[in-house]
Symmetry: C2
Subunit: 339 residues, 2 copies
């Protein structure tokens, strides 16, 4: 999505109708196509029957997924690609489809109100007419909360693995992942850096979900849950504080408050690591980051995404002595600030 | 959309969230961004004010359109690209945004029911619970009809211009475009081939809209409207019959009936020219064609898209002595059958 498109009529129309491919993938994840095909190939009548599809369009649907690169078809049998087998089979720990389940259940509908959002500046999700934090309703319902947190893991996995490698972790011994959700960033970091111990910091309701996820990875001896509300409580004292897809949820004052709290909590020489789909400084290349900012319009009262330069400026304002931007993977970059 | 994608987590997620870019473009067309910017560049506050956008996300929205390649930003002023100025400014005859207006108003919502459509085999649009032709309700409302027909022009323009060049028109003198809508295919064909005269064939309600469009192009001396219902009436006798984005609306029996009527109407040596987003014979490359077939699931009781080989087989079945497939532009190909 960072390439220039739309120079011919059919390219313009294909972007405008791009929700077709998107929704086909979302429906495939919803119906468990990739879980059904895990580790084995299946012919059309069998696959159609197992998924409960009407014969009219089942073949077009599966062949569409082949043409989009999400399935293979060999000798009349459908099979996952190596990537979809790894990332979209719900039974594997490498599953990242939670974000797509959330997009299918919630965002696709909410985004149909984009024009209204742009005209009013107001969010368009379940909290459209509610007051208070956009996360309150979510955190009050354990099933929705778990699904949301798994979605966050899905959208973060690639960046989490890059952070586990690209931050100079050797210099540090302790860290806290703030707004940790299931804890995938913390898990990836300690998996790749065996000398580290860390906290997952989030609202108390998240505790059991974090602990289940960490236990599943057999990391309970090195990762502990630290309950807290980052609007009310201070953050734990550590060498490194990470915040992945957190800063973009909040308005400018809230963003600076969070950076300020991180600065206060860090040991001297420590680092804050912020990551998001950070927008390029020219604001003309990272389309996904700019669209993610519109997603914050749809989802939150005041959130927005930002450029690396924006974040560096805020970090220096709250007292970090140096700050730099480093690309992670796809649309994601991190900003590292040193105390 | 014909390239293999989805081999990394972020690529998978970007397709799954591809409806963001799609909806941003649809909202831009809905709000008239490209019409507002026609022929001149405008700064952020002015553009935001003219479109009535809230300040919260206007800049992200416009910069998102820059990053997607639909706007340029030079010295702080937003401007159309040459392509969006030509194709998405509503005041120009080259406007193709009708299909995007229709996608924004109707299809985006209807596609949110794709899973239900796949499970039931039933259409999910306004005619979900209605009987009879999916076009009846549409044709009964002149404003909706005009918008739908303009949409058809939008999705057909590139292919229409290719057909005007690639069919050996020199061999023929008369043609009828069956299911002509606004008549853009007929218009493009006679603009490029000054020796031809032709008919636009469609339901009587379409007549005034066809005639307005043809008059606008000053072609009323060479193009005439021929009212008719292709389920009840025979087609006019001519050298060439064209049908663009018609065959995919109907079930297999109806498709063959239409080809049979075309064969009966043609002069000896004449040609039928069928075009659609024709699926490759392997059914593994033209993702747009396969998704268009799912769009026929959403929109019609029995329609589906098809491969070139499918169409060649049907043409030979109804008596055409030869038939061949030729690529037009983007996802569209034509099948030419010779009587």
């Amino acid at each position: 999505m960072t390439e220039q498109t739309g120079t011919t009529p059919d390219q313009i129309i294909q972007v405008g109708l791009g929700f077709w491919a998107s929704k086909a993938l979302l429906s495939a994840v919803e119906m468990g196509v990739f879980t059904e095909l895990a580790n084995h190939a299946v012919d059309l009548p069998t696959l159609q029957g197992r998924l409960g599809l009407h014969p009219r369009s089942a073949r077009d649907f599966f062949d569409g997924l082949v043409a989009l690169g999400f399935l293979r078809r060999v000798d009349g049998k459908y099979a996952n690609t190596p990537a979809t087998d790894l990332y979209l089979d719900k039974t594997k720990p490498s599953y990242i489809g939670g974000i797509l389940e959330m997009a299918n259940l919630r965002l696709f509908q909410h985004w149909s109100h984009l024009t209204e959002a742009l005209r009013t500046g107001k969010q368009q999700n379940e909290t459209k007419d509610a007051k208070g934090s956009p996360f309150e309703a979510l955190y009050a319902d354990p099933a929705r909360l778990k699904s949301f947190l798994a979605g966050m893991t899905g959208i973060s996995r690639g960046a989490n693995q890059a952070i586990a490698k690209k931050v100079p972790w050797r210099q540090y011994r302790t860290f806290a992942d703030v707004g940790t959700a299931q804890g995938d960033l913390a898990v990836q970091v300690v998996l790749a850096n065996t000398h580290l111990t860390g906290f997952g910091f989030d609202l108390a309701e998240v505790g059991p979900i974090f602990e289940e996820y960490v236990e599943h990875h057999r990391l309970s001896d090195r990762l502990r849950f630290h309950p807290g509300n980052f609007f009310e409580d201070s953050l734990p004292r550590v060498d490194v504080i990470t915040m992945g897809h957190i800063l973009h949820d909040w308005n400018l004052d809230e963003k600076k408050m969070l950076l300020n709290k991180a600065h206060a909590a860090l040991n001297s020489g420590g680092a804050v690591v912020i990551y998001d789909a950070i927008i390029d400084d020219e604001r003309s290349k990272n389309a996904f980051g700019l669209l993610m900012s519109l997603n914050m319009l749809i989802e939150t009262p005041g959130g927005f995404d930002y450029t690396g330069q924006d974040c560096v400026t805020w970090m220096k304002e709250v007292g970090f002595r140096e700050a730099r931007v480093e690309h992670l993977v796809g649309p994601d970059s991190m900003v590292i600030g040193i105390k």
